[in-house]
Symmetry: C2
Subunit: 316 residues, 2 copies
């Protein structure tokens, strides 16, 4: 049924990164993401620092998270401590709230668990100074987006992460886009330790920006976090142990045997290919699109990742 | 563990509609959605026209979709014809693409099916004139949002749906926000019949606006569409029949026996309470928030729905 097969192609283009190439009958079609990535140079890709790469092994598969220590150094350090103490091993995904977040940590600290069995944070700190914004550092790469933003004066990408800037206050911050990872906390701004983490699984809840520490991004495995049954209790908490997905282990890639380190690389967000991807998404001209948007919002841009055959090395 | 219990409350506020009330120690806290809704008047709620209310019974539960015939009358009419011919009964959710859409229809029209078994559209049309935008009608209610938009000159709500307007072209259109339902099509703008429908399950793909017919919104049951395993094939298509969720039936509420009609009502988007909800979301002041956003984007606003004990009546 050609109608539906064409639908597949058309929506592949609409969907983004791994589109089948389709050419309009006339005019110059927008290059597909696949075409742009195929022409990228090796230098436009980077291997994540293995000290910033979390490997979370769920009962359902592997999730890779890249930490952003340049934006939240204290939180990243505390999370590394928790990980090295195997804090997360045997804990679980405890909450999936539709169009909001998936949260993981110690179910005994939340509804349905046994508070007497709460896991100790060990050498990690129970509180961390807020890192909700930080001064703009002109030395950090900044790929500005041209179309504005509802929430912030300037938005763009820095070191692989979506971010916002306010030139008046001189501050910048990572933004709550799909797949970004944040640190749950209590009312006190310093009460987030990194022992409870969440990933955004819906429309970007940008109202959380500057109110929580955003510590990284899910590079691989989002479907394992987003494609879960929503929890039946308020805010999507699961009520029975059997509903929770178990975290078998979380390790820093740097601590894994060489053969087990994830071999992945991420497109540099200060590369020409990334800029071309943004432009292709802004103005899609092909056989399907009637009206190119002419614009793109920050959280609609994916940062491509790919598997490599080369295992990464740890920075000294 | 109070830390985590407080987190529950804090994130409930962050999350939106069904928050537990929390009051700051000093100052005037922002009323919670729960409080605002509790004070709403009966006149601020409306029962969806039962001729616009689709009841999709999945093997996993019920999904309610409100059609928007004022914005896509021809598509809505063709969908009603398909539904009344029981076109969808026995078909399936055939595709779930992470951070994009869940699509349902005839799997035999797509990868993995048997094209010789494609279901006939019966009396419904195979093609429908494009209804991607329509002239602004000053008689339609319009609740404008104050904070701008990346994609459109004006955004707001009309008759319960998120929408955008361009005063220069004089056109308006429904927007691809979370939970909105659109009509899949081939490259030809007229090739969407309504036999393939999709719902947005991730960051709003606003680049689709004005390129596809948006025909309604999921009122109830989004988790049954969003909380599914993502399909393994390109674009999230399932490859095996066992992976698909079966559509047992789709009916117009008006065609159901009175006792089976969904008893639900939706907050009017031209009501004072809806405006108050928007303002509360823009500027959240409570014990948790350090920095109220001061802004809100179109697709971060939910339109509340609630169950009633009164069964709706069909408009003549």
């Amino acid at each position: 049924m050609l109608r539906c097969r064409h639908l597949v192609v058309a929506l592949a283009l609409a969907g983004g990164l791994f589109a089948l190439p389709v050419f309009a009958d006339s005019g110059k079609p927008t290059p597909s993401s696949q075409e742009l990535l195929a022409k990228s140079s090796a230098a436009e890709w980077r291997q994540p620092d293995l000290n910033n790469l979390l490997v979370m092994q769920l009962s359902t598969g592997r999730v890779l998270i890249e930490l952003a220590p340049d934006f939240a150094p204290l939180h990243a350090a505390n999370i590394r401590t928790l990980v090295r103490e195997h804090y997360f091993d045997g804990l679980a995904i405890e909450r999936v709230q539709d169009n909001f977040v998936t949260q993981w940590g110690d179910p005994n600290g939340n509804d349905g668990g046994d508070p007497s069995k709460i896991r100790s944070l060990g050498k990690a700190s129970h509180t961390v100074a807020p890192e909700f914004t930080l001064p703009i550092n002109p030395k950090r790469p900044w790929t500005a987006l041209p179309d504005g933003d509802v929430y912030a004066p300037e938005v763009g990408f820095s070191e692989g992460f979506p971010a916002a800037r306010d030139p008046v206050s001189g501050q910048e911050w990572l933004t709550h886009c799909y797949g970004m990872v944040g640190v749950g906390r209590d009312n006190g701004p310093e009460t987030g330790s990194g022992s409870e983490l969440y990933a955004v699984i819906g429309q970007a809840p940008r109202r959380l920006d500057r109110n929580l520490a955003v510590v990284g991004r899910v590079l691989e495995g989002m479907p394992l976090l987003s494609g879960l049954p929503r929890g039946p209790a308020p805010m999507g908490f699961y009520t029975q142990p059997g509903q929770r997905t178990t975290i078998q282990s979380v390790r820093l890639a740097a601590d894994l045997p060489t053969a087990q380190r994830p071999a992945v690389e991420v497109l540099r967000t200060d590369s020409a290919t990334f800029t071309a991807l943004i432009e292709a998404k802004r103005n899609r001209r092909d056989a399907f699109y009637v009206t190119p948007a002419g614009k793109v919002d920050l959280c609609s841009i994916d940062v491509p990742m790919r598997a490599t055959k080369v295992t990464g090395s740890t920075k000294p």
